[in-house]
């Protein structure tokens, strides 16, 4: 096959940017050979991460998270529902992940991105299996009223590792969530109690003061891509499009494995590779936890 030679010749004449677009895999591999990534990172290092809590003023809890340029905005709105018969003293947490057309050239209006329902499902599975939240804490009046927490995550900029960023922003928003003080009125409806008129009201407040949820163990995740023998942590969208083997590992703060997700891909993830990924994730969890603690000094875990 004369092909490799053909672009060998071409490559010497091409500009870097053109080469990158025309032969992405070759460009990528040349970098790997030097143990460096196309954006200048070492292989196992995640991108710069920032968390900003309270980004949406009108929500009960919110967070803006950036990992590299991947940006997620999460808001939680609390509404009241009648709990189901099977679990009369449990509230509910509904998680939705949206990819609006602004976030990526691939998404077009009216045609939701393929990834968004997948990430939605993964997120709610992860958060429920991590037992991070006790749904009993969302109960108001047993059998009558309970909180329905709508957690909506919007991807504002998609540049790889969507699940990691979405999970981090969901967790951050939950840590920021303040449950409003409410009372039940005569009609059996739940109404807000504001600080001034709280005492004047004859009704018994159901939820006396603003409170935070107790977060028992917080899940954090890291996505790695496997290419030949290389393991690359926290891939960008460009890297994700070149390499097909992805491994997402979720650990909680105590280092327990919560979920592991490897959707297909040609490279078989050997146990050793998986263990390397877990080790990388363990480091990352420590890092992320310290970020979150910094934003949330009064959070007790």
């Amino acid at each position: 096959m004369g092909l490799p030679n053909a672009f060998e010749d071409l490559s010497s004449e091409l500009e870097v940017d053109a080469f990158r677009r025309l032969f992405p895999l070759r460009y990528f591999e040349r970098h790997l050979a030097e143990s460096i990534r196309t954006d200048g990172r070492p292989l196992g290092k995640a991108r710069e991460t920032s968390i900003f809590l309270g980004a949406v003023a009108s929500a009960n809890g919110s967070a803006l998270v950036k990992i590299g340029s991947t940006t997620m905005l999460t808001a939680i709105k609390m509404e009241v529902m009648t709990p189901s018969l099977e679990s009369p003293d449990e509230g509910c947490l509904a998680i939705d992940f949206f990819m609006p057309p602004i976030c990526s050239p691939i998404v077009r209006p009216g045609r939701p991105a393929e990834a968004s329902p997948v990430v939605s499902k993964q997120l709610s599975d992860t958060i429920s299996s991590s037992k991070m939240i006790d749904l009993k804490e969302l109960s108001l009046v047993s059998g009558k009223a309970a909180w329905m927490a709508y957690l909506d995550i919007y991807c504002l900029d998609a540049d790889g590792a969507l699940f990691d960023a979405a999970l981090l922003s969901a967790v951050a928003a939950l840590s920021h969530l303040q449950i409003p003080a409410v009372a039940m009125n005569d009609d059996g409806k739940i109404v807000l109690v504001s600080d001034e008129d709280g005492r004047k009201q004859a009704q018994e407040p159901v939820n006396k003061e603003k409170r935070k949820l107790t977060l028992r163990s917080i899940p954090f995740s890291l996505t790695c891509i496997l290419h030949k023998n290389y393991i690359l942590a926290d891939p960008t969208a460009e890297e994700e499009s070149i390499v097909e083997t992805h491994v997402t590992i979720v650990l909680d703060t105590s280092g327990q494995l919560i979920s592991l997700y490897k959707p297909g891909g040609p490279v078989l993830a050997y146990t050793s590779a998986i263990q390397d990924c877990v080790a990388l994730t363990r480091q990352r969890v420590k890092e992320l936890k310290s970020f979150l603690d910094k934003e949330n000094p009064d959070m007790e875990v």
Binding site: V56, A57, S58, A59, S62, S69, T71, L73, A75, K77, M78, E79, V80, M81, T82, S84, C92, L93, A94, I95, D96, F98, P100, P101, I102, C103, S104, P105, R108, P109, G110, S124, I127, S128, L135, M148, Y150, D152, Y154, L156, D157, A158, D159, P180, V182, A183, N185, K189, I190, V191, L192, V193, S194, D197, Q201, Q203, A237
Partner: protein
């Protein structure tokens, strides 16, 4: 748990017990909810390059109204089969579920999409990208009044950031009328009980109006006054937008 969403019972958001009296608008000594003067706009904040994945993007914040606009293209258009010697402009405006005080569905806003298209088409040199499409997608993160004007101004900044040829920046401002008073850049509470509204989208350096809508009853002098108010505010707004672009350009040079 979350999985039970299948048969989600109807939910409602709890409201304060004390029935809010209708805000005492129209009174002589009436002050605006955020304490601004009648002819004073909210402080405007713009930043370009908010979304890396897009060819151009901008973020705008007017008080609590927050908007992101991404521009993609010029790129091949999938919808248009026919040859066209001018470019196509495609606009879409959507809201987040948490944009409005009551949780919404986060759906597309067709009226705003059409309005955004009309406001921008007069400002873009469509001849400069034949056979291709430029997509302008806006997401209203938080809505707190004057959403459409903010979206339009932000979109024109995003277009500039994407390097799309335009005759001029397109700035947009609206005023609300309350009996005799005109109030510029209204917030949501004001919009909900206004008698009429006037929105102007213009290209200040060319002194041209690309879009204009009026609702409610207006006499000729009042229309004059409202238009002048908007045009002046648009000119100021365009200055802020321009300085934002200059800043971004000088940053990238360094």
């Amino acid at each position: 748990m979350a999985g039970k969403g299948g048969a989600t019972p109807a939910t409602y958001s709890p409201s304060p017990t004390t029935d809010k009296q209708k805000p005492a608008l129209f009174k002589e000594d009436w002050v605006r909810p955020d304490g601004r003067g009648f002819h004073q706009c909210r402080p405007a904040f713009f930043r370009t390059g908010a979304v890396n994945a897009a060819s151009g993007s901008a973020y705008a914040e007017f008080g609590n109204t927050k908007v992101i606009v991404s521009v993609f293209g010029p790129r091949e258009s999938k919808k248009a089969m026919m040859y066209s010697d001018i470019g196509r402009l495609n606009c879409n405006v959507s809201f987040t579920t948490f944009a409005t005080p009551v949780r919404g569905q986060g759906s597309d806003h067709n009226e705003y999409s059409a309005m955004l298209h009309k406001a921008l088409e007069g400002g873009i040199i469509l001849e400069s990208f034949p056979k291709t499409t430029v997509d302008v997608f806006a997401l209203v993160l938080e809505s707190s009044g004057s959403d459409l004007p903010v979206v339009i101004s932000c979109a024109s900044l995003a277009l500039a950031d994407a390097g799309i040829m335009m005759y001029d920046l397109v700035a947009s401002v609206s005023v609300s009328s309350f009996s005799k008073n005109l109030v510029i850049d209204p917030v949501l509470e004001e919009e909900n009980c206004q008698d009429g509204s006037l929105m102007i989208t213009c290209m200040p350096s060319r002194y041209e109006i690309t879009q204009l809508t009026v609702t409610g009853e207006w006499s000729s002098p009042k229309i004059n006054e409202g238009m002048q108010l908007c045009l002046d505010a648009c000119a100021k707004l365009a200055k802020i937008m321009r300085s934002c672009l200059k800043e971004a350009a000088s940053d990238s040079k360094e």
